[in-house]
Symmetry: C2
Subunit: 183 residues, 2 copies
DNA sequence: CCGCGATGTATCGCTGCGATACATCGCACC
DNA sequence: GGTGCGATGTATCGCAGCGATACATCGCGG
């Protein structure tokens, strides 16, 4: 899932870890963070899997004697052919709903790289899962409302409203996307 | 953090794992889930720490021959004296902001067991952390807005609005709570 | 010239998730 | 009267990601 984000960012230009992390923050904003603690291991995993490779064409090194010794310089990564393929695959993939749900934000951030039909599918998937959960909570709430603490109640109602808000947001997006699908 | 929730629930009556999980769902609703995968290990940890103990006074067992053999019956837990103490401690504790932030929902759900001053402190803490994050995102967004993908932009703005909404919610609650503090 | 904040790579221990296994109980349906 | 299925119940496994932290270098202002 972090993987998808990394592939998406490298799709535009080669980057090193630190920069990737900055972009990640800039791209996902308050939606998701990703710490170095997951980024670096993930980069290694992806490199081992052959999705990305170290980019040696880095200007830093070219400019004369790189001082050698331990000089732990930047490690710039770029997408491989397999990586590009994997990106496209992950970007339209279904998988178990839990997976889809977690990656939704990342997925959405790279929507411009997908077809309108895929977008609608993803958005509708997210919406229906959200609606499902909402109804579950609502039902439980109706059943236990009387027994519940006033603070608990407020918490739940706030949560419910948040979910509702997102559902409405998604509905608007779906509406707009539908218009983009050629007749 | 799950610990706080368990202590809070057991504070009202002894319960076994399954029932705890149900209550957890009913109490926290859409805010947080907690799976068995965390619940059972946590119960063990808490028992080892002496915060909770098995409750033998269970009616099931009393009612004649319990069929013995493997009969892996319910394991009912109750709060110990240390547990009660720990609960009060955790409920008003500050700790690192990350900790506070994650436990906020649980904390809030048990607000009726705290003093109004503590409530205000917790609510204000949450609000200021939220505001801080919001400003960070806003600043980054202002800087990169032009370069950003339209979808990325929409995602970020939606996120920002959500945070904003919660800040407003918190402000209302703070207002109300303040009135409850004796002159 | 030195000190500090930004840049940069990397690891550690922890919490919690989701899936799953397995067993029993109660009751609905035929 | 059996049988089958959904709710109740305990438990574990592997995995993803977090937050803190260590450590090194670079660039710039005082």
């Amino acid at each position: 899932m972090l993987e998808l984000a990394v592939l998406g960012l490298l799709h535009e230009s080669p980057l090193h870890g630190y920069e990737l992390r900055q972009r990640l923050k800039a791209t996902l904003g308050s939606f998701r963070a990703f710490s170095y603690g997951s980024l670096y291991p993930t980069l290694r995993r992806m490199k081992d899997a052959g999705w990305i490779a170290e980019d040696e064409g880095d200007a830093d090194v070219v400019a004369g004697a790189p001082a050698l010794t331990g000089r732990r310089g930047k490690v710039v990564y770029k997408l491989t052919a397999e990586g590009k393929e994997k990106f496209t695959e992950l970007l339209s993939e279904a998988g178990p709903s839990s997976w889809e749900d977690e990656q939704f934000g990342v997925h959405f951030a790279f929507f411009s790289k997908t077809d309108p039909e895929v977008r609608v599918r993803i958005l509708e998937g997210r919406r229906s899962r959200l609606e499902e959960r909402r109804e579950g909570v609502r039902a439980g709430l109706a059943r236990t409302r009387a027994r519940l603490d006033s603070y608990t109640l407020q918490l739940q109602e706030h949560g419910l409203e948040s979910v509702d808000r997102e559902v409405r947001w998604l509905s608007e997006l779906i509406e707009t996307e539908r218009k983009n699908i050629p007749h």
